[in-house]
Subunit: 404 residues, 2 copies
């Protein structure tokens, strides 16, 4: 069957050289080690052009030659791999109870992964900006010690982030209409790299699509497991943000109208019955919102010890989660829905019940294609995805300046 | 902010000529009347190549020169427009109570638009195939009288259609695992053009995106208003079908758990409280499923006359519809949700209440970007979208053979 997204896409010829550099770079990213001839054969660029592009990319230290050669017909070909040793990309996630920072190299390999507790729910925007800036400065300085230049910083925020990066609303942080990108750039004193802000669920979905066990799966949904429940949506291989950047707001899918009051004013929304906050309110009623992780550890300990009250509560939460996710699966028909954040440690007691209930609610015979899994990327998915957007920018042709 | 779908897309060079023909054709589609120089300037193809491509497209009667010329600097340029006079694309929609057929020319202009009643719910698959084939033969023969060759037939089906075109399930038609494409091709005795099957909501969404007042809106959702309630989803300018082609199943979003029993076995699903069938069950309890249109006419007449019972029922249905669509809007953040089918004649009494309720349920401040509107394309949207897929196939480079 014909699918309309296969239509030919004429390149923008405004900057053919930059486009071709990006095409060659992306080819090596996906096919390394590979030769100049491989690039020419697969991209349709002629060999002289490829040689010139590769020379440029080597000079910019984005590619390097390996000792490896490949003998086919004719003379041996020198193989190319990604270099990027003078560069780093930084992602930071801010949340109600912690800040996570990740730095990766051009290949996506992790250079640092920090997590520190942070009372996001009890801080002003100014305190949050100061805390994020402090973590960013430490990360930049660590990278400088490794002789790496930071190419960009992206910050993941749990809330509604417009496509221009302004934070319209982040309830768990108490933010509304905050110019986080601008404030951070100021706090970092014009650091010489772009500071970008995006939604945490979108970024975590991007990380799953790029680095997770389901990488390159065309259609996947990532569900955040923080105080807030939201989704990042990948369809046909790209994060889909919607008109304003507000897609993925699944927290208020009606699940149980006899359920507890939701902060939106209705009863029994997905977040109110199966969000991590809701689970903790029932399993650990005295928990403080800034110590979610400790409380989750305690719930996990009690579940592991077979505490029947905890097991029953998690079973019910799994069921409710599955009912809400069935709505998502029916609407989007993804290959997989991935549960992140604090759902990960709870998964052993949540996920099979949730999947069972989800499949029951899916209209397609046999429950369609959709599986439910816990993220293999751990708590750092959004920060990792944030850093990955910096690589995407390079891959799309905005190359770092040549080293002086 | 960087959005990852802007990454450079190297063309597939397997068939550069076909790709370039398609690029030139699409440029003229979007910019006619235009000159060869315009094509060269915008696509980056050199002038000699463009001349050769245009000569080929004129010979294939896909383009023609107009008498118009444009004087800029230098000599006058002959202007090009789409031709396509020897060709037609046919779309047919089959539903529980009617079959619609639309034929369009290469420019998307309507050549025929037929609608005949058909007891889809009470027919066997064989009877349906025979009825669709009969309509298709009449359309092909009408086109033949106009000296037009049919380039393809696409059939819109209300149900789960796999990406290969087999119908997994179409409850309103009583179909399950039907090879409609294969059966139709046989019934038409290998007609010499592709016969393709797709989901009605996807095709109607495509029609809205291509021909409707919101054409080229990046993110829109079309909601079918037949017995079944389902959605076609356009995000970032393309129909998003999901993993198996089953996206858009919004009929079973829970809306009112105290509501009527749904055919899925639960209570108060969107379809059971606000589907056209549900509305008729309450407003016209004796209605036959094969005469929806007559019954809708009667409801419209009574609503127009101010019948308070009907007005109250439509008001409640609008409210329930809005609650369900809020879930869709929160998940996808589209610019607009378009109500089709029998929602169109009911819109004057449904839509403002539905929009009000939808906005109340949208998480984004101010109800986000999403508007709710009735389709301007009428009952033929799915058939029109079906025919449009044939044009898409041409635009993507699968050109008709040169006339002999």
């Amino acid at each position: 069957m014909f699918t309309s997204h296969n239509e030919p896409q004429p390149a923008d010829f405004a900057d053919v050289r930059a486009t071709n550099l990006a095409v060659a770079l992306r080819f090596v990213r996906e096919n390394a080690p590979c030769s100049r001839a491989d690039i020419a054969a697969s991209t349709g660029l002629n060999k002289a052009t490829v040689s010139s592009l590769v020379a440029d990319l080597i000079e910019r230290r984005l590619l390097r030659e390996t000792g490896l050669t490949e003998h086919r017909v004719g003379r041996p070909a020198t193989m190319l791999v990604l270099d990027g040793s003078p560069f780093a990309a930084v992602g930071i996630e801010v949340n109600a109870d912690y800040i996570t920072a990740v730095a990766i190299d051009l290949k996506g390999e992790e250079l640092l992964n920090w997590r520190r507790s942070f009372p996001g729910g009890d801080s002003t925007t100014g305190q949050a900006v100061a805390a994020i800036a402090a973590v960013a400065r430490r990360a930049v300085s660590r990278m400088a010690k490794e002789a790496r230049q930071v190419l960009g910083l992206t910050v993941a925020v749990p809330g509604l982030v417009e496509v221009d990066g302004s934070v319209r609303q982040a309830a768990d942080l108490g933010w509304r209409d905050a110019d986080l990108g601008g404030d951070l750039t100021k706090a970092l004193r014009d650091p010489g790299f772009p500071v970008v802000v995006d939604n945490d669920a979108n970024l975590a979905a991007l990380a799953e699509h790029r680095f997770g066990p389901h990488r390159n799966t065309a259609n996947l949904v990532y569900v955040t497991g923080e105080a807030r429940v939201a989704a990042g949506i990948v369809l046909d291989g790209r994060v889909r943000r919607g008109a304003l950047g507000f897609s993925g707001e699944i927290g208020h899918i009606p699940v149980d109208p006899a359920g507890p009051l939701c902060r939106c004013g209705r009863r029994g929304c997905l977040e109110a019955v199966a969000g991590v906050g809701a689970i903790l309110r029932r399993t650990a009623p005295d928990a403080a919102s800034s110590e979610l992780e400790l409380e989750i550890d305690e719930v996990v300990r009690r579940a592991g010890a077979g505490d029947p009250e905890i097991l029953a509560l998690l079973d019910q939460a799994g069921r409710d989660l599955g009912r809400g996710l069935a709505v998502v699966a029916n609407l989007l028909d993804p290959e997989v829905i991935i549960l992140g954040g604090y759902y990960i440690p709870l998964a052993p007691w949540l996920i099979s019940r949730a999947e069972e209930e989800m499949r029951r609610g899916i209209v397609a015979p046999g429950g369609g294609a959709c599986r439910l899994e816990a993220s293999a990327l751990g708590y750092g998915a959004a920060a990792l995805g944030a850093a990955a957007t910096v690589l995407d920018r390079v891959d799309s042709g905005r190359l770092p300046a040549q080293p002086s």
